[in-house]
């Protein structure tokens, strides 16, 4: 509803932002604010200091790595920017496709890739997608910079490896190689609504990567399914057989939108659909 009293600061550099975040236990980074401000309105969290990253141009770039194997996306890049980026279109169009289904235009104009992954709400779009894409996450703090995998980055509900006094600076997504296809499937609460269950899949020469969202505190890789698909048979029968037991291996929550059983079922169905679609795209 309304925020408690809070201090606000808008630093001019990443170093200054890190210094401010390290300077107080109650300091939080403010990116697009689409989650944080609503959390503060509900008074579910009350940071003492908001460190607004809006002026940090360094975090707003989209560029290829030197060897063009990665697309490096600044943490403050918005969904709208991702959706209209020619680099994304060329390198990994699934990103644009998926962010275009996040909520609505207003949210996409402000919401950032950094915010979406750092919030790590189990229903968020990007954590499972980036897990499937084998993205890496660069975190900078006073002690320096490190780059880690999705499995290391997503730690728990609303928790990531970004510690106090640290900032996620960029997300690096492998550029799509020939013979690779990506897809994200699932069931949402209404069109472009919140996910009830999501599944992201990448199919390529090396096999498949499948990550399920909304079923645990972090995106879950369907490792058994991936193992069965390593042989490279992506026919419908093979994919369905590969997915068998995926639901039973999960322990998803029950809530007003879905029972645990229904989520288990949707996880299997969505994983199959995502892999089949990704495989189809890998051909084209």
């Amino acid at each position: 509803m309304l925020l408690r009293e809070v201090e606000y600061v808008r630093p001019a550099s990443v170093e200054e932002a890190i210094r401010l975040l390290a300077g107080s236990d109650g300091a939080r980074a403010l990116a697009g604010g689409q989650t944080l401000i609503n959390v503060m309105k509900a008074r579910a969290a009350a940071p003492d200091v908001l460190v607004d990253l809006a002026d940090l141009a360094e975090l707003r770039t989209i560029a290829f790595s030197a060897d063009e194997s990665l697309l490096e996306i600044g943490a403050m890049v918005t969904s709208t920017e991702l959706a209209s980026s020619s680099e994304v279109e060329v390198a990994r169009p699934i990103l644009a496709e998926v962010v275009s289904t996040i909520a609505d235009v207003q949210v996409r104009n402000r919401g950032t890739i950094g915010g979406n992954v750092c919030v790590n709400d189990p229903t968020n779009h990007l954590p499972p997608l980036l897990s499937a894409l084998a993205a890496t996450f660069t975190i900078r703090g006073a002690g320096g910079e490190r780059t880690i995998s999705a499995g290391e980055f997503f730690v728990g509900v609303y928790m990531t490896a970004v510690g106090p006094g640290e900032l996620l600076t960029k997300v690096s997504v492998p550029t799509r190689r020939p013979g690779t296809g990506d897809a994200m499937e699932g069931v949402t609460l209404g069109a472009h609504g919140t996910y009830i269950v999501s599944a992201a899949a990448t199919v390529g020469p090396g096999g498949a990567r499948v990550a399920i969202g909304c079923v645990s505190s972090v995106p879950v890789r369907a490792t058994q399914m991936e193992g069965r698909l390593a042989a490279g048979d992506f026919s419908e029968g093979a994919v369905r057989a590969a997915a068998e037991g995926l639901g039973a291996s999960l322990d998803p929550p029950s809530d007003v939108h879905a029972s645990a059983d229904y989520r288990r079922h949707l996880a299997e169905v969505s994983a199959v659909r995502a892999v089949l679609k990704a495989a189809e795209r890998a051909k084209g």
Partner: protein, 163 residues
């Protein structure tokens, strides 16, 4: 620029072409700054979770929910609200007229937000399709009309020329 933490700030915001300089608490949402501090009550509050879009305004040309933006974040920005659409003499824009022509409003509470989202759309995409319009208005809840007439109104405004 704000480089030391403070609980309130002096901000300068351009709203519908007029620059306002005010001291505001950091905790104040842009929508309350508009409505309570500046008496621009055309922008409405319909929820407390950033879900309904009744508070939609344009910030630097982009549609945003002013309930999910702090007033201090708008420091230095150019904001447009529903009050800035019609001319000083009350000449409605083609979009506003199209809303009335198509019965795209009943209670009128969602209407300012709808108009701002649609204005942003038409400025980017002067002749949007029905699907383009639905996507642009997806973040604006209406409980009276069912959206059908609103979508028709925006499509028609597009076909008619500049908004």
């Amino acid at each position: 620029m704000a480089t030391t933490p403070a609980t309130s700030r002096a901000i300068s915001v351009e709203i519908n072409g007029t620059t306002y300089e005010r001291e505001v608490p950091a905790s104040r949402l842009l929508v309350h700054f508009l409505r309570d501090d500046l008496d621009l009550t055309g922008t409405h509050v319909g929820c407390d979770t950033g879900s309904c879009g009744a508070c939609t305004v344009l910030v630097n040309g982009q549609a945003v929910k002013s309930c999910t933006l702090l007033a201090v974040q708008a420091d230095g920005a150019a904001v447009r609200t529903v009050e800035g659409l019609a001319s000083e003499d009350g000449d409605l824009t083609a979009l506003q007229q199209s809303f009335s022509d198509h019965h795209a409003l009943q209670c009128g509470y969602c209407t300012p937000g709808m108009l701002m989202s649609a204005t942003a759309l038409l400025e980017r995409n002067p002749q949007p399709s029905e699907d383009d319009v639905k996507i642009a208005l997806q973040g604006n809840i209406c409980r009276c009309t069912g959206y059908w007439n609103i979508i028709d109104a925006v499509v028609a405004a597009g076909k008619g020329g500049a908004a």
